[in-house]
Amino acid sequence: MKRIRISRCGSQLLAQPAPRRPLCPYAAGLQRNITPHSQRIQSRLQSTTATSDEFELEEGEQAQAGRSRRSRLETKHTPLEALPSPHPSAAERSSKLAALRSRLSLPQRFPLQTLARTLVHPSADPNPAFNNASLSALGSNLLGYYTTEHLLCNYPRLPMSVVFAAEYAYIGPKALATIASEWGIEAVAEPGGEVDPGLLQFKRLRPGDDVPAALRRQAPWKWNVTTTHKILTSDEFGTPTPFGSASLPKNEPVPLEDSAQSFVRALIGSLHLHLGRPLVKRFFRDHFLSRHLDLSTLFDFRTPTRDLSRLCAREGFEAPVARLISETGRLSRHPVFIVGVYSGKDKLGEGAGSSLDEARVRAAAAALKGWYLYKPVEVTVPSSTEGELDSSKWRPNMVDCGEVIV
């Protein structure tokens, strides 16, 4: 092994790092937070009593512009680490934000400062002018409206509990958190002014801590939490909101899912304010409606035979009769029975099962799904008429009377 002379090592580390090529004038700002390795060594080798002024003078030129901007941002009394969230002017220099804007195909006129604001949860920064609470309120109303009209116009007979479940699947907290991670949103370890504005800022729960009481699912405080009551009082998913209070106390830590949900809603709200309604509808269609949801898996019948019988009575069909269509292996270990439910001569539904009862129940469930999942061929949603001068394309939607009540 070749022995290296100590003096050469020392001088290399102490010397000014010579720039190898002309530097991009904008790179100074981008690399503001990254001090080169040689400078960190340099600062360690300085005397510990060196003042900040001396440190500034002895730095390399490439960091000087960034450092002065940083000290300007710091103002007279607060260092960046003391800020609850990044400074609004840091948004212009964040590559993450610019990349996010182009990844979502948003036009250049959408300000990066607003995009940075949508990433700040109120738990990180309680000041409403710097966090995404108001934007999130607007965005959740927009998402709820567009999703509801899509579901109710395309599936007019859907039962209310399935509507709740479908809304949760499209725009619920888990769905929005998934969408945020698909968009490449990463979260900070701890919010502050020194982190990149393109990261999701929120106060994290410590591992092992409970979810705050306001977010936990609570036992109903009233006895009559019926579906109709939920429509009036709870949110668009049917989750009962706590009595009296709608928001968390300030600075309470939240799970990642809640902050991601708040970000996606705030993004929709900010798009609506800056870019207008048509773009928001296209964005919603591209990012939310393009996700496939199989509604037939959201049903959970308890007594489908009874429901079907009441439905036929209500609609004036002949009473449903279950008939065995075919069977095999009746005396074996795995019989298969195929049963059809008939109203007069029309078969409403068919089911296969390993017992006669199971097959009959499956057939009734299939018949009910056939009724509830009716989908008109062409549908015009209510929001398509907003701002439209030409109303000739409007087709009134089917209004169904409601699911069968047993």
Binding site: T75, P88, L142
Partner: protein, 267 residues
């Protein structure tokens, strides 16, 4: 045959014959809604054609009604619901203005004011309509809060620049974001509280034409009149949105619900 009745059109053509007064229909909710008869409903052609002519809102489906009542009648006074189409039309005209009774089709007009408690949900109910209506009203309330005059706007200095906060940073202000201080979830919930919506529904007479079944006929408030009236109000908005489009529904929300709550809208 699955159904001898003609296929229901997407909008029911509103040619339902108004039954003249000589056929008495007892409108007590607790007994069967059809005229009392000792004969069991038969499948004879005359009966079928009669039943098929009557619209859904007017009668309970024949096969869902027991031939006689087995449970004892509950104590307390009888609660009568409105069965008169003219009174319903009056309420719609009061709410939606002249021609308000023609905005919705006949079945949907009745469906929008029918609560699930009425007739055990056998004649349909306004759950879905109220769900959509509430989403529309919430969104319009957000817009109204955004456009309302801002009391808590960020203070500015003489040059028009925003003043710095306690950390010394100035917020990013933009014309599009000017209304955000007024919009919070709490403000929205307070505006759309059912205790504020119920008087508006009462003003239009919706609490008298809503078809529901109170727990106690002599204590309507305690039985939830406010909730039922608010639900009807939302349901009418939802019905208008589905039948006439979002533009009309938004306009009605602004003029008939939010304006009485104190919001002003520029023409």
């Amino acid at each position: 045959m699955a159904s001898k009745r003609p296929l229901r059109a997407l909008i029911s053509t509103a040619t339902c014959p108004l039954r003249p007064a000589q056929r008495p229909q007892p409108s007590l909710v607790r007994t069967s809604a059809c005229a009392f008869s000792t004969t069991t409903p038969s499948r004879s052609p005359e009966y079928e054609s009669e039943a098929s002519e009557r619209p859904r809102w007017q009668q309970t489906p024949a096969r869902m009604v027991a031939p006689f009542r087995t449970r004892p009648l509950p104590k307390g006074p009888v609660f009568r619901v409105n069965e008169d189409p003219r009174r319903l039309d009056d309420a719609y005209i009061r709410m939606l203005g002249p021609g308000g009774d023609k905005v919705l089709s006949d079945e949907v007009k009745w469906l929008a004011v029918t609560h699930k408690s009425f007739d055990h949900g056998r004649r349909g109910f306004n759950d879905r309509l109220a769900f959509l209506g509430r989403r529309i009203v919430s969104l319009q309330t957000s817009h109204a809060l955004l456009n309302s005059p801002q009391v808590e706007a960020w203070p500015k200095d003489d040059a028009g620049r925003p003043l710095p906060d306690e950390f010394g940073r100035r917020p990013f202000l933009h014309a599009a974001l000017g209304g955000l201080p007024g919009l919070t979830q709490e403000a929205e919930d307070r505006v759309l509280d059912k205790s504020r919506l119920a008087p508006i529904a009462e003003r239009y007479g919706l609490d008298k034409v809503t078809r529901w079944k109170p727990k106690q006929a002599d204590n309507l408030l305690g039985s939830g009149l406010e909730a039922v009236s608010s639900t009807s109000l939302y349901a009418i908005i939802g019905a208008v949105a589905l039948e006439r489009g979002g533009e009309v529904a938004n306009k009605i929300t602004q003029d008939k619900i939010l304006a009485p709550l104190g919001f002003t809208f520029p023409e």
